[in-house]
Symmetry: C2
Amino acid sequence: MTATARTPGGRGRRAARSTGDDRQLAILATAERLLAQRPFGEISVDDLARGAGISRPTFYFYFPSKDAVLLTLLDRVTEEADAAAGDVLVRLAEDPRARWRELIHRFHETFGAHRAVVRACAEVRGTNAEVRRLWAAVLERWVQAVEAAVVAERRRGAAPDGLPARDLAIALTSMNERVWYATFAADGPAVAERDVVDVLLDVWLTSVYRGAVPPAG
Amino acid sequence: MTATARTPGGRGRRAARSTGDDRQLAILATAERLLAQRPFGEISVDDLARGAGISRPTFYFYFPSKDAVLLTLLDRVTEEADAAAGDVLVRLAEDPRARWRELIHRFHETFGAHRAVVRACAEVRGTNAEVRRLWAAVLERWVQAVEAAVVAERRRGAAPDGLPARDLAIALTSMNERVWYATFAADGPAVAERDVVDVLLDVWLTSVYRGAVPPAG
DNA sequence: AGTGGAATCGACACGGTGTCGAGGTAGTAG
DNA sequence: CTACTACCTCGACACCGTGTCGATTCCACT
């Protein structure tokens, strides 16, 4: 198991040792570079291949399709986001306002740093079931974490009862997703990038604590 | 000007009088029918043409592209939604809670009735600039209406100050869009269709009135 | 009967995807 | 220093969907 199964979900094809890895990486790098310049749909397999210094058929030795490249990129970003979120939510009681803000802020940073990838994923989510599934899984994880945090805040008496915690978590998570997308992709009415964290935070706090100031534990 | 310029944005090509209109309508009907069965990307111009009883080249006599058909469909839906929303927001002071609910409820009904079209638009919004533009314009109109309503509620002392009204309007509108999409298209974590109006309403009310009960004027 | 524009479609060119099979190339074992 | 093997590479091909062109038919109104 020295150099096998390098890619997360087995998205790539390599299971071997040496120079081929460079090419795999080169394809990924080319993809992220081109994605910063033009939409995913306007990038062909040929562009990716040439960018990595190989021919189009050779591309298929490394990835089964153009979409698979994007999927690998998405894997990376979501992993990074999960890591960035860390355990903020279990330390909520320390200082609720600061912790919620930290959570939102960290996601903001991560997605902002990879906006090209996020944008591309939104672009193909409609077309590609694989991307849709992966993205849905990420959201589901986040929703569950938020739901648990809301339940905990209610249990310790910091937040009053109200909507079912899961529904609230879904609504707030969905809001963030859409608002970030509008901001990063400049698609539709958008909040200024500078303000977006605080705007989101305000809606989160008012709807979780219902006007009450969240008390520290 | 008896039968000229029938389509809203000049999406279709017809500018003539008789039988061709049937075909135009047939194409639209075929599109909406097929959209209920499979995603937009899996419907070819040929499918649309055959469904309307014409050949593929003839399709191009009526519409410049597949996307133009969808755009026409979207035009219809947004017109319907605007009509359904009507003047609820200017009558907010009568009974704020009931009026906000009415607004959300009516959009819910309209989009729910045309979920296939909404879904398809989300699918191509990433690819098609025209759809993106039209959808953004619709959102912008809604955002402005909500912003004005929030300002009015604050001015009459019903709602306390807080976030800039426009930012709040954007956040709430975005939330609705994404939550509805998840519910209607079963894409990602979703609120049950039965509950969604009340869940959204709750977040709207708490973040606009900040815990206070909205008083009637 | 004849003219003009509406409506129709066969045939074509194009561009992108994915596959196949025929190579090269580099280590390793005899 | 061969020859085997698994990795790696690409030219050529088949396929599919889009959009266009030019020829043709149909019909209403001279």
